[in-house]
């Protein structure tokens, strides 16, 4: 089955792409998608939405799902530190 993967902000920048269609075995989970396509991301903090609803690592995917990788939203910190992703 195919799912659409979308990345935003710092994750998009780190991955070097914004959208991609990924082919997965039937009933693959969010965790399996990440392990197969973005293993280097697994120690980062981010959230996943499947079809625009927050999902978890064990959420089971279906053909045609849109899976979005969402960094913690910006401005949440009252006193932001400047993180150096690209200087």
């Amino acid at each position: 089955m195919n799912v659409r993967l979308i990345l935003f902000a710092g994750l998009r920048q780190a991955a070097g792409f914004k959208r991609e269609t990924v082919c997965l075995p039937e009933a693959a989970t969010v965790g399996e998608l990440l392990e197969s396509r973005l293993p280097g991301f697994l120690d980062r903090t981010f959230y996943v939405a499947v079809n625009e609803e927050f999902a978890q690592r064990d959420t089971v995917l279906q053909d045609g799902d849109e899976v979005a990788l969402l960094p913690p939203v910006s401005g949440g910190e009252l006193f932001p530190r400047r993180r150096s992703l690209r200087l």
Binding site: T45, S74, R86
Partner: protein
């Protein structure tokens, strides 16, 4: 009033506009929060300058989550009559508002202050909008604090 109550837009935001969106015949108090672009931020290491911000959103999920905040407010503060949340995307210059949140109630003691405060905190938790800070010699996508219950990247995220 046909204007949307929860909207992501590239256009400059207007406090008069959002007041009109939430104003009601039976309301006497409206609290509006404006998040504006700080040109200078005090830090331990001295002032940090910002030239401009660029906002990016996951649409339409962002508007859906803003509407969810409206529903949460209605549950927690049943006297609230109107909620509107507007957020800009694209480039925002210093002193421009990037987000406006307005809450209308019959009287000022009916929760408009508390609900507005709740909305901005909640927005930072669940609405997928990110900002890129741009200054003289660099740029960075700013990330907020981690919400453990949402995190799927690190091991804690395994618990649903």
């Amino acid at each position: 009033m046909s204007a949307k109550l929860f909207e992501i837009t590239k256009q400059p935001l207007s406090q008069d506009d959002i007041l009109r969106r939430v104003s009601r015949f039976d309301c006497g108090g409206v609290v509006t929060f404006a998040g504006t672009v700080r040109g200078s931020t005090a830090t331990d290491g001295g002032a940090r300058e910002t030239d401009f911000l660029v906002y990016e959103a996951y649409l339409p999920m962002a508007e859906k989550m803003m509407a969810r905040i409206g529903d949460e407010i209605q549950e927690r503060w049943p006297l609230v009559k109107g909620v509107s949340i507007l957020h800009r995307i694209g480039r925002c210059d210093v002193e421009e508002p990037t987000v406006l949140i307005a809450v209308a109630t019959p009287h000022r003691d009916d929760g408009c202050f508390e609900a507005c405060r709740y909305a901005i905190e909640r927005l930072k938790e669940i609405v997928p909008i990110w900002k890129q800070e741009n200054w003289r010699d660099g740029e960075v996508w700013v990330e907020g604090p981690r919400q453990p219950e949402l995190d799927v990247g690190s091991p804690d995220g395994l618990q649903g």
